[in-house]
């Protein structure tokens, strides 16, 4: 069993993260991953050049680790890997990698679903969109909160 939770200030390479997870999961039967990208358009349709993710020097990484550990304890998975960007993420670039390995696929699918629902609502990050119209702070949507409630 391994749990990896990283806060990445530089560009995130999903291929590299998948390779790390694959290497760790040699004895498993399934790997499921999710890669979130910085959207080029806001929910109201305005162009977005970049997302800026402000973080706390210690509590942000701790919050990501708490979510990853919660995932490992809840599901029948052997490896959990979460890498989250902080700082400025240009539109179209990866913002988060979440992956889980398991003997069987179902647990890995559920684990990654859980990871993302909790990350979207609980990770200690303050996010703002930057575009032609200036900057706009983002908060979890009603849908994000409903998704989070599925896990109790």
């Amino acid at each position: 069993m391994s749990v990896t939770a990283l806060l990445e200030p530089q560009a995130l390479d999903p291929q590299l993260e998948l390779a790390e997870l694959t290497e760790a999961a040699r004895g498993d039967g399934a790997i499921v991953t999710f890669v979130g990208l910085a959207r080029p358009e806001s929910s109201s349709g305005e162009a977005v050049d970049a997302l800026v993710l402000e973080h706390h020097p210690t509590l942000t990484r701790q919050s990501i680790e708490d979510i990853a550990v919660g995932c490992a304890e809840r599901f029948d998975v052997s490896h959990v890997r979460v890498v989250h960007r902080c700082g400025t993420v240009p539109a179209g670039e990866p913002i988060v990698f979440a992956g889980a390995a398991s003997i069987h696929r179902r647990a890995a699918f559920d684990a990654v679903d859980y990871l993302m629902d909790r990350l979207k609502t609980e990770a200690v990050l303050w996010k703002r969109e930057v575009g032609d119209d200036g900057t706009k702070w983002i908060e979890p949507t009603e849908g994000d909160l409903v998704d989070r409630e599925r896990w109790g």
Partner: protein
């Protein structure tokens, strides 16, 4: 004492400010909310942190301590 603010609070007030020591967390929160009405709601919903631990409203902030206000998070 030093006060560190994050997110929209840092935008509206400043990332870091100084205040005279001896106030409680609640008193600092009320003072900032009164001075910065535009973010009063965010301030009231913020969690207070000293030395990486969440603290309550009655906690007195010492001269050498840093009080942090974490507004509601955006999530990842």
């Amino acid at each position: 004492m030093r006060i560190r603010l994050y997110g929209r609070l840092a935008d509206a007030i400043a990332p870091e400010i100084g205040l005279a020591a001896g106030c409680s967390v609640g008193e600092v929160r009320e003072l900032l909310a009164a001075e910065h009405a535009a973010v009063a709601r965010s301030l009231k919903a913020s969690r207070a942190v000293i030395a990486d631990s969440f603290v309550g409203e009655e906690r007195i902030v010492g001269e050498s301590e840093k009080l942090e206000f974490l507004p509601p998070v955006s999530g990842g």
